[in-house]
Amino acid sequence: MTKLLEVMDLKTHFHTGSGVVPSVDGVSFDIKKGEKIAIVGESGSGKSVTSLSIMGLVGSPGRIEDGKLAFEGKDLTKLSKKEMRKLRGNEIAMIFQEPLTSLNPLFTVGNQISESIKLHQKVTSKVAKQKSIEMLEKVGIPRPDKIFSSYPHSLSGGMRQRVMIAMALSCNPKLLIADEPTTALDVTIQAQILELMKDLNEELETSILLITHDLGVVAEMVDTVMVMYAGQIVEHTDVYTLFREPKHPYTKGLMDSTPKVHMLDEELVSIEGTVPNPLSMPKGCRFHPRCQFAMDKCVSEQPELMELNDNHKVRCWLHEEKEVNLHDLVKS
């Protein structure tokens, strides 16, 4: 598969009154055509800022300090505002966490979908309307011609997220960024929306970058996973390897703190401590204050993202000399 987006050493920092916050600090990954990839992490890990950086929507006081965002060879960080607007909503589209507030309450659903179609495809209102209704039908909205002229407030959360997806996909984007698309929805609707995104990914060959904190959603949806912690990627591998054999203690902690059906009577483990204050990141490995395996080296030196094999990278000193199985380490 060819590379659609290459993120190279992305650094997005926020210049606040109390200092510089390195929200995204040297993130690199790529997305291939038709691939589904996820970034997982806690709130404040920098996953949303990564996606906003790709969209060129990082607002003041934040800005991209360094790095390259090569989309089909073009560096997004070098594009003019106008060129970026041409890509946004057209080749790269985004859906957001809050379907309830992400649609403008004063315009009809149809107006908002056809707005991007008219903008990017330069078609008449009539054609745009027809296309919008087709899109609404495609995302499983009943009576699409009636919903076309309804206002967002008359739709349920699930329906609004479907509208958002229809809007995002209306110009056949090559990349769809979904920032916690199901977080605000209840479980059955969640499953429907994920299913819909998977179907559309297969049908339209849209690559998907999913931002989430929900490992269940990751397992359900994607091929490749990146785990982010304090602005950095700490583990990067395919979804099966990640769940079978997490290599970073943070990933393992995340897995252990997810309730599982076959272990309902066991106590749920949580990761000790909290996410570090971005204004004063710990020296050495950023996870070491919370890590049960921390060694002297972890306190003093920051690990690089090491390549264990072709499709597994991890940022941890434990695996410096040879690959270690964390499950065995806990037992010993």
């Binding site: 946004r88 992400s102 403008n104 309450p105 991007s116």
Partner: protein, 305 residues
């Protein structure tokens, strides 16, 4: 919609009744009207005779009852200064006040909308500081002082505009600016804070993510949303406008309701005072009703049931 409108109009009846009660009571608060009408050396008998002739010896509520009956017929009593029915005198002055109020609102809108939006989109820039600072000064300047300063500069020194009176468009400029400045200041601050709030909304981010030009993001997606609170406050400002008109009209000898009201108060021409207050109250009620209807046009979420 029509049903709602009818209900709202019906709701104004108790409000008008309360207002009529208040303006009727004014007469009693202001002192004995009979004593005012008769010369100081009038005999006790003359006073009693006139009191009886005017029906002022009847119980308070009975007098109020007949006052309301007269009101319903548009009869506010005679103005003793003009020797004619009070209501036509007031209505005669109404167009001048409406002209001034509309012009002042136009001045306010023309200044405050672009200024409010600019300062919200360029927060903490020098333009923003200038706009918010200007708004504080605009709000703090008393109407009468601003009016006199404008007359001094533009009429007396530069001679660009007439000093006072009504007639041509030139006459309207200075009074409209005087009355409009305070409202513009209030509205600028309101639009700014409303826009800042709206620009942080998720749907504005959605609009940006669609690749829409910043201009349309601000004017199509954000501005209309920010107008909802602005319309409310603007409608409520009607009373401020009328209050300001009292002073502005006096400063510029603008022959409107405000000037008439002040003259009537000074001469204790109670029928005219009452008619003025009543007409102003109706104006304020109408503006609020208008704002209610405007919401429906602006915001589809508002339903009138």
């Amino acid at each position: 919609m029509v049903k709602y409108f009818i209900r709202r109009v019906l709701q104004t009846i108790p409000v008008l009744l309360i207002i009529s009660f208040i303006i009727f009571s004014l007469v009693f608060v202001a002192g004995d009207p009979v004593a005012l009408m008769l010369p100081e050396d009038a005999s006790f008998e003359d006073v009693e005779n006139l009191r009886e002739a005017l029906g002022l010896d009847r119980p308070f509520l009975v007098q109020y009852g007949s006052y309301v009956v007269n009101l319903l017929q548009g009869d506010f009593g005679e103005s003793f200064r003009f020797n004619q029915s009070a209501l036509p005198i007031v209505l005669d002055r109404l167009p001048a006040t409406i002209e001034l109020a509309v012009a002042a609102m136009l001045v306010a809108i023309v200044i405050s909308i672009p200024l409010g939006i600019w300062s919200a989109t360029k927060r903490n820039s020098s333009l923003d500081l200038l706009a918010t600072g200007g708004a504080v000064i605009g709000k703090a300047m008393p109407n009468f002082w601003l009016g006199i300063m404008l007359i001094l500069l533009f009429s007396v020194t530069l001679g660009w505009f007439p000093v006072s009176g009504r007639g041509t468009m030139l006459h309207l400029v200075l009074p409209a600016i005087t009355l409009g400045t305070g409202i513009a200041a209030e509205m600028t601050r309101l639009i700014r804070s409303s826009m800042i709030d709206i620009l942080n909304q998720d749907y504005v981010r959605t609009a940006k993510s669609k690749g829409i030009h910043d201009f349309f993001v601000v004017y199509k997606h954000a501005f209309r949303n920010s107008l909802i609170p602005v319309v409310t406050i603007t409608a409520l400002q009607t009373s401020t406008v009328v209050g300001g008109a009292l002073i502005t009209e006096t400063v510029f000898s603008w022959p409107g309701l405000g000037q008439l009201l002040i003259q009537a108060v000074n001469t204790r021409d109670m029928a005219v005072v009452q008619a003025c207050v009543f007409v102003i109250a109706i104006l304020v009620i109408l503006m609020n009703l208008f704002a209610d209807l405007l919401y429906r046009l602006l915001d589809p979420r508002i339903k009138y049931n």
